[in-house]
């Protein structure tokens, strides 16, 4: 697609030759039926941030309730509904579509220099599926929110009187939105790579998105069939999971976790992908161990199918299966460790600029390390017997989901914000927010490790008095983090109106999206300015240009030589 015409970048004097994708067709109707991947990405972003704030409100309600033992705000059933919806909204609505659909949709075609994704109408259809799923979840919230936990374990989910069917229906539909997004991205990466960009000249962001998409396509259907069987079981009493009719509740757990473990890798792989790009851009230095990071992404994707049993060590799974799954779980720890070591090695002898996205990236490395290491506790069989379904697990998965995937989402959002909306956010406020979120997050979830190992069970409305002090520290941390998140989103939205005009390349990125004007036109590049594939992660000929207010390539920079290996 990208013809290799070398062009010099004329600055952006006066009005640009083509209107940007935001202004090309105004009006609500044009946005609703748009096929442009950037607009769909922005619509996803709006949907996801609102569901994130909604999920956050549920989280803060749960934390306030737990400030003291006994009932403060809500009774036990409402508490159960609160944590169920917090789980369902955050997992199905925010974090699974978050990085792949919102930011992936926006960045994938531009990084490839392509005008759009492979199947634009399928892309819009996925967004409508996401909206239907969100509507169904809200319907469940309005009627009588499901109180089964986001895992919908039977036989409780088939015998409780709350509105489980809309919630399960919503998750079912959201599954298909995720499948079609994954399918779209795999075909785009296969068929729309520019000339000269082979598999090992691709930015690492695409490796992450590719392995996530593989997981989305091959794992999510099992969630679809599981939730379909759950719906039919609850309404039609077919008896496949119902112990009285011969069904087996542990079989439901096998079905559910066969999807849900690859799902946690759907959440973390795009985060790792973006982080690889972020760290190398802000270290102004080539990545260390490109092949190892690329292979570990694919390794994680394939190993994630083998390990789902470690969620079921104490749930009636046999001893043999427990042993097999525990052994396989440790193989999954290795690729993550390789990635972290390679990122730290990238920081060695670099030229690090601690701007907001980089602060989020460094926070990601530290929080993901804690998250990964606490996973080792839960992988060891007899330690997991004690720690399973305790607050230790709650802290572990919040470190990996919130601490890693959400922080990476914020980092990537700040990284691509100038490109998406052509505005620069306030750097100082962004940095302060990043640090406060890091502090707030740790105050919230570090005490929960101790709570868990001391014997506080998960999903508890009331707890023994000796755990009170830990819960109070955690609640304070939760409010600090909540407020800072709102401030950081406010900072971004404020920049839409008052922000400084963004240059094409504010951070000095070497990948192709920084050659596009920000915000890019409808087909990502001006007709006369087709993108040139420069060697990625080679920052030698990028220098800061005052007039442009951003990084510019030296005019003589030669495009990528054939078979260049970053």
């Amino acid at each position: 697609m990208a013809t290799a015409a070398t062009t010099t970048h004329s600055g952006s004097p006066g009005d640009p030759p083509e209107p940007s994708y935001l202004t090309v067709k105004r009006g609500f109707r044009n946005w609703i039926v748009t096929l442009d991947h950037k607009r769909i990405g922005v619509m996803y972003l709006i949907g996801i941030t609102t569901s994130f704030l909604l999920g956050g409100v549920f989280a803060l309600l749960v934390r306030t309730e737990l400030f003291l033992p006994g009932s403060q705000l809500v009774n036990e059933q409402q508490y159960n509904q609160l944590f169920t919806l917090h789980g369902a909204v955050m997992v199905f609505l925010v974090i699974i579509p978050g990085l792949p659909a919102a930011l992936g949709n926006f960045s994938l075609p531009i990084v490839l220099g392509a005008p759009d994704v492979a199947f634009p109408r399928l892309n819009l259809f996925s967004f409508y599926l996401w909206c239907t799923g969100a509507a169904l979840l809200l319907l469940s919230l309005i009627i009588n929110a499901a109180d089964t936990g986001w895992t919908f374990y039977t036989p409780y989910s088939t015998t409780t009187g709350t509105a489980v069917v809309p919630a399960v229906g919503g998750a079912f539909v959201l599954g298909f939105s995720s499948i079609f997004t994954g399918l779209n991205f795999i075909v785009t990466i296969h068929k729309f790579k520019p000339k000269g960009m082979g598999w090992f000249q691709m930015p690492l962001n695409l490796w992450g998105i590719y392995s996530t998409a593989l997981l989305q396509v091959l794992a999510t259907p099992v969630l679809g069939i599981t939730l379909l069987l759950l719906l039919v079981e609850r309404i039609g009493r077919i008896g496949i999971f119902d112990p009285a009719l011969g069904g087996d509740p542990v079989l439901f757990q096998h079905f559910f976790w066969f999807y849900s473990h690859p799902a946690v890798y759907i959440m973390i792989l795009p985060a790792m992908a973006v982080m690889s790009d972020l760290i190398t851009t802000f270290s102004h230095k080539h990545i260390f161990g490109y092949r190892f990071i690329a292979y570990s992404s694919i390794g994680l994707a394939s190993l994630s199918f083998l390990v789902w049993g470690h969620h079921m060590f104490v749930s009636g799974q046999s001893r043999l299966a427990g042993m097999v799954f525990s052994a396989l779980t440790f193989t999954v720890a290795i690729p993550s460790a390789i990635k972290v070591f390679n990122w730290v090695a990238t920081l060695y002898k670099a030229d690090i600029r601690l701007q907001t996205p980089m602060l989020y990236a460094l926070a990601f490395i530290l929080l993901f390390t804690i998250g990964g290491l606490t996973g080792v506790f839960l992988g060891a069989l007899n330690v997991d017997v004690h720690l399973h379904d305790s607050y230790f697990v709650v802290a572990h998965f919040h470190y990996v989901m919130m601490g890693s995937a959400l922080i990476a989402f914020l980092g990537a959002l700040h990284y691509w914000w100038p490109k998406m909306f052509g505005r620069m956010f306030n750097e100082r406020v962004g940095q302060v927010c990043a640090i406060l979120i890091f502090i707030g997050f740790n105050t919230t979830f570090l005490p929960q490790f101790v709570l868990g190992s001391r014997g506080m069970a998960r999903r508890y409305f009331d707890y023994d008095p000796e755990f009170t002090s830990f819960h109070q520290v955690s609640t304070v941390g939760a409010f600090l983090m909540g407020i800072t998140l709102v401030v950081s989103f406010g900072n971004l939205v404020y920049s839409l109106f008052r922000g400084k005009r963004a240059p094409r390349n504010p951070w000095g990125g070497s990948t192709m999206e920084w050659q596009a004007p920000s915000p890019p036109p409808l087909y990502n590049f001006y007709a006369h300015e087709q993108p040139v594939l420069y060697p990625i992660y080679d920052y030698s000929d990028l220098y800061w240009d005052e007039t442009e207010g951003g990084y510019v390539r030296r005019p003589g920079a030669k495009p990528e030589a054939e078979g260049y290996e970053p």
């Binding site: 542990v250 104490v314 525990s326 920081l347 670099a350 030229d351 001391r454």
Partner: protein, 400 residues
């Protein structure tokens, strides 16, 4: 702890009174309880001892119709009560991370936990120092250029792949060894049945006593056979580092051996509905001998009711209802309705159904088998005490 011992001393007097015969089995707790697969179920803790003041209970027959369940209780005999459970003794623990460890397996788990914790802190501190140091040393400042550095180094990559793999394999093996111990209870463990239902645990002891707290002897392996009546629950005692889900359509088993007496907390760990956080109980680990006394108390309390009611309870508790009906319909065994006093043909000729025949067919069922039924009834010799047999006889007598 003192108050706890006091209540034992006061109540324990009658048990060691004149009634205790010599043939009480030596290690009473160790008797395997009503074990599955047909081996001889023993009578649990209490042997043939009869609480001293039981003679007073006999007069129920003297005061009129024995079948009258709500006959007035003889006033001079107060209702037997069991000692209340003391306060928890596991609030403080010397290990910052874990509650007090109360079994060898728990100590093994603590050891592995601390080992992994050390490795994790070492790795985390190493990475944090590296990140902070690099971020500071190579921070971008005027005149600072990123010095030349290689873009990959295979030996380094191989080392930081091999080392974590070896550490992981070691942790896995240790974890697995502990898990295998957790899943292989010793042969002679004392068995307690646990039934979990929505928001309540019931612990059923071999002598028929059902309690809402788990009472276990110290130093003895105890095996728990658990099942649920409705949704998933999970039996978790943090001090024993033991957890196992309780599933509606099957038995799940777990075992532990308490090392120190005391009262420990027990939780439900698998989400099971509204009052999930209130579905908890206490594990009372009795000092040596204390458990046997508690079981005797429970046994005495269990027998302290009019014979006809005791007979009715045993009809259901000991599974007689599986084969004998009370509404006249024949099942695997003959119905008990109205058979008292009639003569029936049996394998040993015509027999009048009276107290002796009933007692004999309970203790030696195959002696005189009713014609038309096959001899499949298991014997109850040694399982039922005399008052229990009298209770059953009175109950059959009252079944008109």
């Amino acid at each position: 702890m003192l108050q706890y011992l006091l209540t034992f001393v006061v109540l324990a007097q009658p048990a060691s009174g004149p009634g205790a015969e010599a043939e009480k089995p030596a290690t009473s707790e160790a008797q395997p309880a009503d074990k599955a697969a047909g081996d001889k179920p023993a009578a649990g803790a209490a042997g043939e001892t009869k609480p001293g003041d039981d003679k007073a209970a006999a007069p129920a027959a003297a005061t009129g119709n024995p079948c009258d369940k709500n006959a007035p209780r003889p006033t001079n005999k107060p209702k037997k009560t069991l000692p209340p459970v003391g306060p928890r003794t596991d609030v403080q623990s010397e290990n910052y991370w874990m509650p007090v460890a109360n079994s060898d397996m728990a100590e093994h788990v603590d050891g592995l936990f601390i080992a992994i914790l050390a490795i994790s802190i070492f790795c985390f501190v190493g990475i944090t120092i590296a990140v902070v140091y690099f971020a500071w040393k190579y921070r971008s400042r005027p005149g600072h250029r990123a010095p030349e550095s290689s873009s990959h180094n295979d030996t380094l990559e191989i080392t930081w792949t091999i080392i974590p793999s070896i550490v992981c394999v070691i942790i896995f093996l240790l974890g697995w060894k502990g898990f295998v111990d957790l899943n292989t209870p010793p042969k002679h463990a004392y068995e307690i049945t646990i039934v979990a239902e929505k928001w309540k645990w019931s612990y059923k002891y071999p002598n028929g006593w059902v309690d809402e707290n788990l009472h276990v002897p110290v130093g003895e392996p105890v095996r728990l056979i658990m099942r649920s009546k409705d949704v998933l629950h999970s039996f978790w005692v943090p001090s024993f580092r033991v957890k196992q889900d309780v599933i509606p359509n099957r038995y799940t088993k777990i075992w532990f051996e308490a090392k120190y007496p005391g009262v420990y907390r027990q939780y439900c760990a698998e989400y099971c509905g509204d009052r999930h956080s209130f579905m908890k109980s206490l594990v009372v680990v009795h000092p040596p001998g204390g458990f046997k006394r508690y079981m005797e108390e429970a046994e005495a309390a269990l027998l302290d009711m009019p014979p006809v009611e005791l007979g009715e309870y045993l009809y259901a508790a000991r599974g007689c209802n599986q084969c004998h009906s009370v509404d006249g319909s024949a099942k695997t065994g003959p119905s008990w309705k109205g058979i008292f006093g009639e003569t029936h043909a049996t394998s040993a000729g015509q027999v009048k159904v009276d107290e002796n025949y009933i007692r004999e067919s309970i203790l030696d069922p195959t002696a005189k088998v009713r014609t038309g039924f096959n001899a499949v009834m298991p014997t109850f010799k040694g399982q039922l005490k005399d008052e229990q047999i009298d209770g059953l006889i009175t109950y059959i007598k009252c079944l008109k």
